[in-house]
Symmetry: D2
Subunit: 328 residues, 4 copies
């Protein structure tokens, strides 16, 4: 069992905390967070608590750190942990600013300790199976991909201001999926956006609806469909079209029940949000972190994936500004 310190137990932090505690290969040792809930959690799980990251990092028994602080602190905390020689688990994004990331390229791309920047969908069993179907040639040669990423309901407008905007906050997952599933580097991007869901989002300077196209040098294409509010739960789907058919990861209902009545046959609703939809993915991320701590695996996603998806987000924004395709 590897001793773990965790920074931050907000919404995402609480989720990771439960998974750390439930993972038989990890042992929660420190919680770094000033919130009163943190004290309760520390008591419940028999961990130590501190408001000083340095104190936790100074503990030689700590092998890995789960960085779950607010996004704005990710980079600072990650760098501190790496400097202390601790393996790092940090849910993406590492940072919202491409320039700041590149400024730390040296410490991040060849880190002093393993740096795992987790992209949850890469660990989702449905998308992993889809990837395997593509790689195995089940659908022949891959030609095009359609990604649907529709959030259940728009965040409050005040969140929008700090989110980094639709592309960096939301489409970022689709950029990572596109880059992961497409066999060659993407070479060009085109994007249209609208504000159809909530005028307050437009007032906050953002958009809530998008369609994007990406392509590679061989003419393969990928379409991304985004909305901040689906009206029908968390609609996450990817379809991959090849020379011998289609493979898809469909939207995931909450359970396998149905009700048949006169007006139709009603399947259970989709998961209402990412916490339920990606519950297995978040557990699998921590398993991967345990593998990394065991020395059995290298981080599947790290600085490179962060840079890559952020660069796509910035190119998409340029495409919107220019109303023209942008070369990558």
């Amino acid at each position: 069992m590897h001793n773990i310190a965790q920074i931050g137990i907000g919404r995402m932090g609480a989720l990771h905390l439960r998974n750390v505690v439930a993972n038989p290969r990890l042992k929660l040792t420190w919680i770094v967070d000033p919130a009163p809930e943190a004290a309760n959690a520390a008591r419940q799980y028999q961990a130590k608590i501190t408001t000083s990251l340095d104190e936790a990092l100074a503990d030689p028994n700590v092998k890995g750190v789960v960085v779950a602080s607010p996004t704005a602190f990710h980079l600072e905390h990650v760098l501190a942990c790496l400097k202390a020689g601790k393996a790092v688990f940090c849910e993406k994004p590492l940072d919202l600013d491409l320039g700041r990331l590149k400024a730390a390229e040296k410490e991040l791309s060849k880190p002093a300790a393993p740096l795992f920047v987790a992209f949850n969908r890469r660990f989702d069993p449905h998308f992993r199976k889809l990837k395997r179907h593509i790689v195995d040639g089940t659908i022949g040669a891959l030609e095009t991909i359609n990604i649907i990423n529709h959030d259940p309901a728009a965040p409050p407008a005040h969140f929008i201001g700090t989110s980094g905007g639709l592309f960096k906050d939301f489409t970022i997952h689709d950029f990572d999926m596109a880059a992961w599933l497409m066999p060659d580097p993407l070479t060009e991007i085109f994007a249209w956006t609208s504000c159809l869901v909530d005028p307050a989002i437009a007032e906050a300077g953002d958009v809530d609806t998008a369609r994007l196209l990406l392509r590679d040098a061989k003419g393969r294409m990928c379409m991304i469909s985004n909305t901040r509010r689906s009206g029908c739960g968390y609609d996450q789907r990817i379809q991959a079209f090849g020379s011998k058919g289609m493979a898809s990861a469909n939207a995931v209902p909450q359970d396998a029940t149905e009700i048949w009545q006169e007006h139709g046959a009603l399947r259970a609703p989709l998961h209402p949000g990412f916490i339920g939809r990606y519950a297995e993915a978040y557990r699998a991320e921590l398993d991967h972190f345990a593998d990394i701590l065991d020395g059995k695996a290298k981080p599947e996603t790290s600085y490179d994936a962060s840079i890559q998806s952020l660069a796509l987000a910035e190119a998409a924004a340029r495409s919107v500004t220019l109303n023209a395709p942008v070369k990558l």
Copy 2:
């Protein structure tokens, strides 16, 4: 094109009439029916009209007769047509009384002209495909079958009195399916019934809900599930279980649309009744009749199938009375 006389244009008759007219190999020549609508139909389709079956049968150009009179007249009309040397199409049942049928065995089992007693489900493309999966060994050796036959809504109680009762009027289709799909003769039957839908049905001396079991000498089994009122449209399903998996003919929705909302994903409702659900089957029956008239085919179902399913219905009724299995 074969000249056709049709007897009766009630609900089922009107359905067959449309199919006769739409079939490029059949030509409607006579309508035998006293109803005023019959005169309209005759005018519209440029057919002759009469109230005398003999008159139509005397027409040497008439090659086949569609018998769509009320059930109580089926046998009489069929025998008259056969005697006149006309090929006969008659939707099952030939008669509700096994004794009466057997009394006419000579004329019916070796008829003077082709006798096609149509069982609509045998011509349904879904069930035909299921049968092919069974025969082809797609699911290995067949072991058991589950048949669901649930009507959308109970008929008025006054109909119940003349219907022949649940087994002869309704389960009869399932008996025919069981006999058709099972590879060996059925040897034993067990049935339970209830009146759960409408007390007026009980008052009319009938039941509206049933579960039946059938088996053959090798221990293969078939379950039949019946209700007169599903509350969710016309629920017609068969599942066949074999040594290498399952093949099923699923319930058929009215169309391929869906609506996804917060409370779930709603598929289009099932067909509201047999006319929509079995539209293709009824057309296929008449195509089969055209094949028979062409001399290309022998009737797939005739006197034998009628006897067989009626005998199962009577055995089922005995099982209910005895509350015990009945050997066939």
Copy 3:
């Protein structure tokens, strides 16, 4: 019953011929076609045959003409029929050249007799139901649409030369669907294409794969996904996303059977082509034509729809050439 002359009984013509014969409100009177099969068909259906369109048009009993000649002759034949005062049924396209169509605007937009240019998908029950869900507000306010139109297998390259190219021959249906389903006029289009299916198509100067985006003045968007070869049958789907959920017309399997085995649960394959998939739509078109002949309906689609979809096809081609969005 309305007397009908039909011009052409090639692949599409034979399909329409069967539907004319099966429609109880239409009576096939003339076949205009020099092919030997035409003589057989005329004999079978007791119609007259001629190689002279004028002869058929001179028959005062002929009320309507089904124009099913090769596309290159559509416009000439349609104009001749209209001049003779006959109602016209012509499967789209009226012509592949926008200039030629506009040159005949006077005769086509205010025709001397009803002109029905049939777009089959408008008569498909699945897409009509989808349209109703949109119009009825079932999914709230419509925001975006994703259209998938994937052909089962690419046509031979020699066909490509005369087809008008992917946009005019194939995407044309999607342009019509987009215009029909979107509540406001489309204002801008962007298109990317590739040749991924068959290099012979590229040699013939065409493409086989496309992704297109359209939008309207309010920021609603529509995505179109095209390939000439799906590898999985005729994949025709539309999803409409609104403020209260999604409505979709899903791909249509050939039947409702499934086979469950160790490696998965296999639904019946999609229809292998448009003839099966749109069988009901083609019948419904002719019903609509019968309504027009009855004076009960005006043509749902005529010159305007033809112009509109052709204009979108030409704009899409310009977008590809410029690699930029094009205003409509």
Copy 4:
């Protein structure tokens, strides 16, 4: 956190052990098992190990015991734990012999400490949702139920000898489901069985295929369909039919992917066995045990449910022997 001793870490025991360790409210303190793997597990999870149940029970810190010894020892171990005043979690069956259970009725029905006899399906989220649909009246008044319980592959024949036979080992779950879902006590049972899967099972004196009917005093009915080998994974389904429609818990595929090819659309296979299919149920059972230890809940299933399902199994066996329905 409640200190837990666990007896037995075989196949089921290993599963429960992982869930105990992953449950943040439970702390594994003792493993009682002589196997070498037990020593490893104890080391890994920092628990103590013993071969003496008494030693573990003597530890006053132990609040609850997970009894996961072989079925033949369940009753003895459960009674010992209760005598020591420890709350007990024991996966069903408590025992295979109704007489032996009744002999211990006093200790078991009013136990000295909470006794939770876990029936996994009662804790399955799909079946719980189905139950809620029934209780809430979503499908109106419940009328009939169809239960499909098909195992992926038959156990080796040598297991059959100690299993208690199909009804006690396998159908027992369906008996419990029937009793749980039906609103009134069941009053009569009828059963047919066959040996179709493996002749070695017949040689071992058992059967592998069954169809059963149950009913209550109001005429509601329940059908159970069993096979030891489905050929298509672990096929677990329940359909409940009511006056206003049907509610079902469908078979659960391993994931939400599909592959569409020329021969059809292939959904991911069903779970290959109970461990995957009921993973959530087993976790939920332990959550319920934690609730019991917290004093927040009483055991949902205990001695009564064990007796009830065993009595149904014995009545079913009598029905087979008599080839007649048996009153309960």
